[in-house]
């Protein structure tokens, strides 16, 4: 009897293990690449016999869910999409990413790999990159007889000339924390940084000049109420034809040329490199999305196999063809993909890939808090058109506060 029970138990256990071994649980973000993957997964299932349980979630829901599951140490997630700059450092420090041994990273630009690696080992596969560009209205530029701005001085002159009662000459994010990423390239082009050698340095002369310039531009030529505007608010204005120039991430290109979403004709929308600043021309180019294997996964071999397929060259090419700015270099060299992509977008990508800086925010665990703090400095600058006498003191205060955040997580002076 006892023997029978043991055998029965063993059979059940083996059954459970083998049933588990044939499944992977994948958490995707609501993102065009997630959609593309979902459509392709049936092919993968048919080819491998592995059942893929997919969930797609909005990005902040995804973070909440992953955090809860991993923190309780009883997660069943095998593979997931992740935002390296927003959560990468925290996830890595908590030991939630599995190091990706045996993955061929040779097709990825070095700037992207800097984010994917912690120490010597890569922990995530870069999926999508985005970089800062200048969107502008070709028709308005032609009417005003203006050339596309190449420097910040040109940018200001153009904004002044294009501004009317109805149309803002220039727009960029003004809503505190949300603006931090878009301000970053301005700071770089002035020769400044948010962090340097693990310390906050955005109170430097260069950074302050950039913050003042950004504030002046938005206060003088920006849309009304810009201090409460992020991309959600500015994009509709651009689509409604109320903005002549807009600096933001390249990811919005598809939506502003889509006739179902925009009132501006696609032929009138131009993309250019962010104008150069007094010191440099280093727009940010960041890995906005990556994919990782969960350290807690019980099916690591299957998970590795899935992630190799899900981030393959073929799918990257498909992604670029459907207007997703993929991280893989090979996609951007593929003739078929290039034939379909916008030439200006491709040119701005190759400029950013060569000259860009791989962070668009202070790269640290407490990035959310740091963004709130820097956001206050941005708002002050916009409210005073860059002329605030308190700006330097305010920035020094916030630098101190960000340094404290860095100390709290043991990242101060570490780089």
């Amino acid at each position: 009897m006892r023997k029978l029970l043991t055998i029965l138990l063993a059979v059940i256990l083996v059954g459970m293990v083998s049933a588990q071994a044939k499944e992977v649980r994948v958490l995707l973000a609501n993102h065009p690449y997630g959609e593309l993957l979902k459509a392709a997964i049936p092919e993968y299932e048919a080819a491998t016999g592995v059942k893929v349980n997919v969930e797609s979630l909005q990005e902040s829901q995804l973070t909440t869910k992953l955090t809860t599951e991993f923190a309780t140490n009883s997660s069943t997630v095998d593979v997931f999409m992740t935002r390296p700059l927003q959560e990468g450092k925290m996830f890595y420090k908590n030991g939630w990413y599995e190091p990706l041994a045996g993955y061929d990273f040779s097709d990825y630009p070095e700037s992207a790999m800097g984010i994917a690696r912690f120490g010597a080992k890569p922990y995530l596969v870069p999926l999508v990159t985005e970089w800062q560009v200048l969107y502008y209205r070709k028709d308005l530029f032609k009417k005003a007889g203006l050339a596309v701005p190449k420097t910040f001085d040109d940018l200001e002159k153009a904004a002044k000339a294009l501004k009317t009662a109805d149309v803002a000459g220039f727009a960029s994010r003004g809503k505190g924390a949300a603006a931090v990423t878009q301000l970053s390239s301005y700071i770089y082009n002035y020769g400044g940084r948010y962090l340097d050698k693990g310390k906050a340095v955005f109170d430097s002369k260069q950074a302050l000049d950039a913050i003042r310039f950004y504030g002046k531009m938005l206060a003088n030529y920006g849309p009304t109420g810009v201090t409460s505007m992020s991309w959600e608010n500015i994009m509709p204005l651009f689509q409604a034809g109320k903005v002549a120039m807009w600096t933001d991430a390249s990811v919005f290109y598809g939506q502003i040329v889509d006739p179902a979403k925009s009132q501006v004709a696609a032929a009138d929308v131009g993309i250019a490199n962010l104008p150069a600043g007094p010191k440099a021309s280093n727009p940010f180019i960041v890995v906005s999305w990556g994919m990782a294997v969960a350290r807690q996964s019980k099916n690591k071999a299957l998970a590795m196999d899935f992630i190799k397929w899900a981030t393959s060259k073929e799918l990257a090419k498909k992604g670029l063809i459907s207007n997703i700015t993929m991280a893989r270099n090979s996609a951007w060299a593929d003739p078929e993909a290039l034939a379909k992509a916008n030439a200006e977008l491709v040119a701005s990508r190759s400029f950013a890939a060569k000259n860009g800086f791989p962070y668009d925010r202070p790269y640290m665990s407490a990035v959310g808090n740091a963004r709130d703090l820097i956001g206050e400095v941005i708002i002050e600058s916009i409210n005073t058109a860059g002329a605030s006498t308190k700006l330097e003191t305010l920035a020094k205060d916030k630098v101190r506060a960000v340094n404290e955040l860095l100390e709290d997580t043991g990242e101060f002076g570490v780089y």
Binding site: N30, E55, Q61, T64, F252, A260, K261
Partner: protein, 271 residues
């Protein structure tokens, strides 16, 4: 005497002033749910536009919102039903036997931020293999629904004169019988209020469902986010989904409201 025309006008004006700001977002939402993305963002807003049904097609065909409706209904109805089953006798007992400490203890569960329950729940439910099950969602929603029922009903039961039960018991009824046949019918307005509030809580709950549900048991508030993508929001579909989600809740409240008023007057005469 007929009311003065100026008074009538004044009344209408006040009505518009009060109802206008409250109703405006609803009107906007309803209108946007029939608009294209271009019409939604158009400035000045388009009062006249050619309405489209595309957004509703996306909600019910592409995303299969009926499934989420069924999920939300199962969770909402069951959690409210079990909360009444446990909560009504508990509230009665608290009201009649003055168990103040117990009621404070129950209130603590309500006052604690819901997020602090998430981790323990996740651990418990995943060990019990109850993730993505209705059971997990129903139990989690009861944690809020039950205190709502207990708190509304215990104070309601206290307002019912104890003589009513006593006279029933003099006539030979047991306490249970008195509770079922006398107290509960008289309390219907309170019960309806408790049902409405706890059901709306469950219907709108986001945080618990977000962590405890997966594809199979996804509820409506989570499903709305299917239309919010990275760097892209499909406003028309979000609005259509919002209309679809609010409609049953508004309808239920309107139906129940009638009973609330009826029950109130009934209680007044009898009490």
């Amino acid at each position: 005497m007929k009311p003065h025309p100026l008074r009538k006008l004044g009344f209408a004006l006040i009505l518009v002033l009060i109802a206008g700001p409250v109703l405006f977002p609803f009107v906007w939402m309803l209108a946007s749910s029939f608009k294209t993305q271009v019409d939604i963002i158009a400035w000045p807003p388009r009062i006249l536009f050619s309405p489209i049904l595309e957004n509703y097609r996306k909600v019910f065909q592409e995303q299969n919102f009926l499934k989420y409706f069924v999920n939300s209904s199962i969770v909402g109805v069951t959690s409210v039903a079990f909360s009444l089953l446990l909560g009504l006798p508990a509230a009665y007992s608290i009201a009649r036997f003055r168990q103040k400490r117990l009621s404070v203890l129950i209130l603590v569960a309500r006052l604690m931020p819901g997020i602090s329950f998430l981790m323990p729940w996740y651990i418990i439910f995943s060990r019990l293999k109850l993730m993505d099950s209705y059971t997990a969602l129903i139990l989690s929603h009861m944690l809020i629904a039950l205190p709502i029922v207990v708190w509304i009903m215990s104070s309601y039961f206290e307002t019912i004169p104890i003589e009513m039960e006593e006279s029933a018991m003099v006539d030979g009824a047991t306490r249970q019988r008195a509770f079922l046949s006398i107290i509960l019918p008289v309390s219907s307005p309170g019960i309806v209020t408790a049902i409405t509030l706890s059901f709306i809580f469950s219907w709108n709950n986001f945080m618990f469902s977000q962590v405890l549900s997966m594809e199979k048991t996804k509820t409506l508030p989570i499903a709305v986010y299917n239309f919010v993508s990275y760097a892209e929001v499909d406003w028309g579909a979000v609005m259509a989904a919002a209309v679809a989600i609010m409609a049953p809740a508004i309808l239920l409240t309107m139906i129940f409201q009638k009973y609330v008023v009826k029950g109130l007057t009934m209680g007044a005469v009898k009490g």
